[in-house]
């Protein structure tokens, strides 16, 4: 029974391995039997043949390799030698220039180089004190230098009138609100028998101290209830 998927997997692997399986009777028979598999095989075979063919293009020509290996050797040497390699020393020397050429015995050493290389042993406290004094004196020296700057004799003074705008006074009118004297309203419940019949207490503008002197409770109280009065009452 022909199985397209299996057949394709088999010949793809064989093609990738570069094995010529045309002599294989079983696969050849499978390919003869199925036109789709045969077409698939032909396109795949052509594709992989082309990829093998371009490997010649991908490989550089013979004259490329000497420079490649020389570069690689140099990189290996650089990787092997410590950081203070000869190449780095050479680069450092080129960077500094001929003035800072290191001293060599017998070579003509410049005075500048000798001065640069001269050392003087100084006790540490003295060195620190000198540095501090220098640091303190530098601001004073800068200030003194600024004061000493005088106008040169060729400088002429030119007076130019400049109009300065005067700010006008503004009149600010303020409205002051004065509080009115509060009106004291005191409600007093009526004490008289005649006023006891009333359901509303009367307001008075004058404060009257409440007193129960002469109060005599009545035996009967008549109450009249008036509904309504409050606007939102339901």
């Amino acid at each position: 029974m022909h199985n397209c998927k299996e057949t394709r997997e088999i010949f793809t692997e064989l093609l990738l391995d570069g094995i010529d399986f045309r002599s294989d009777q079983a696969i050849s028979a499978e390919l003869r039997r199925c036109s789709e598999c045969r077409s698939e095989f032909e396109t795949l075979s052509a594709t992989l043949r082309m990829t093998s063919r371009v490997s010649e293009v991908a490989t550089p020509a013979e004259d490329y390799w000497p420079a490649y290996h020389a570069k690689l050797r140099q990189r290996l040497v650089d990787a092997q030698t410590p950081t203070t390699s000869r190449a780095q020393a050479q680069r450092h020397k080129e960077k500094l220039g001929p003035l800072f050429e290191p001293l060599r015995p017998g070579a003509g050493n410049s005075l500048f180089m000798r001065l640069l290389r001269t050392t003087l042993p100084v006790p540490l406290p003295l060195a620190v004190a000198l540095v501090l004094i220098a640091a303190l004196l530098i601001p004073f020296a800068i200030r003194a230098a600024r004061r000493d700057v005088q106008p040169s004799p060729t400088t002429t003074i030119v007076r130019v009138p400049v109009e300065v705008p005067v700010v006008q006074e503004k009149v600010v009118t303020r409205v002051v609100y004065r509080d009115r004297q509060p009106v004291v309203r005191v409600t007093k419940r009526a004490t008289d028998a005649s006023r006891a019949e009333s359901t509303f207490a009367k307001s008075r503008t004058e404060a009257v101290p409440a007193s129960l002197v002469g109060f005599k409770p009545s035996d009967e109280v008549k109450l009249t209830v008036i509904k309504g009065g409050v606007p939102n009452e339901k």
């Binding site: 396109t43 992989l48 371009v54 293009v57 390799w65 690689l72 290996l76 990787a79």
Partner: protein, 209 residues
């Protein structure tokens, strides 16, 4: 003793000398296998300069790690593992720089302008130009894959490694490797099959020069 055994013995001898910090011995090893590594790098990168840098990086890493070689496999098998790791660790962005690429089409433009200076008469043949364009198409098709898929195809097709070996070297499953290889084949077939438009363009371009 066969020639291969002699080579292997020679490899072992050279590796021992390289482990004793003999750069000359290591360079001999590099001369022996540089073409294979460079071929993989050339397919993996689009740029010639990138391919050179990457292949040299492989050799530098191999030299730094040569002390760890335990002689339990062939030198090339060990080197291939370093190659795979270097390829995968290399930043993808640096492979596909937008500028400075020297593609086959650019080669053709240079060829048309400065034919006398750059190419001899044999390299100007139609077949040579066709192969360059073909290589460009192959690399472009491979560039559409992920780095892992691309590398899986290269190892399977150019190095003849088994799926199991590739999966072990790349630290992934066999299924992933198979899928990557198949995708690469499909891409390449779409670009290189005789029926494709691109193939017709390649043929017409090559015939123009």
């Amino acid at each position: 003793m066969t020639e291969r055994d002699t080579d292997a013995a020679s490899d072992i001898d050279l590796v021992r000398r390289a482990q004793a910090e003999d750069i000359d011995a290591f360079c001999l090893l590099a001369e022996r296998y540089a073409r294979r590594i460079h071929l993989l790098a050339a397919h993996y990168c689009r740029n010639t300069q990138d391919a050179e840098d990457l292949s040299q990086e492989v050799w530098l890493k191999a030299y730094q790690a040569v002390q760890t070689f335990r002689f339990d496999s062939s030198f090339y098998t060990w080197l291939r593992r370093i190659t795979i790791n270097s390829f995968l660790n290399h930043r993808r962005a640096s492979f596909f720089r937008s500028h400075g690429q020297t593609t086959a089409v650019q080669f053709l433009q240079i060829d048309s302008e400065e034919q006398e200076a750059l190419f001899d008469s044999s390299s100007r043949s139609q077949e040579s130009i066709y192969n360059k364009l073909l290589f460009e198409s192959v690399v472009n098709a491979l560039a559409e894959l992920t780095p892992a898929q691309r590398l899986a195809f290269l190892l399977r097709h150019y190095e003849g490694m088994t799926y199991d070996e590739i999966a072990t070297a790349m630290n992934c499953s066999i299924g992933t490797v198979k899928k990557g290889v198949w995708r690469a084949i499909v891409k390449l077939r779409a670009r290189l099959s005789p029926e494709s438009d691109e193939q017709e363009t390649l043929t017409s371009l090559a015939s123009e020069y």
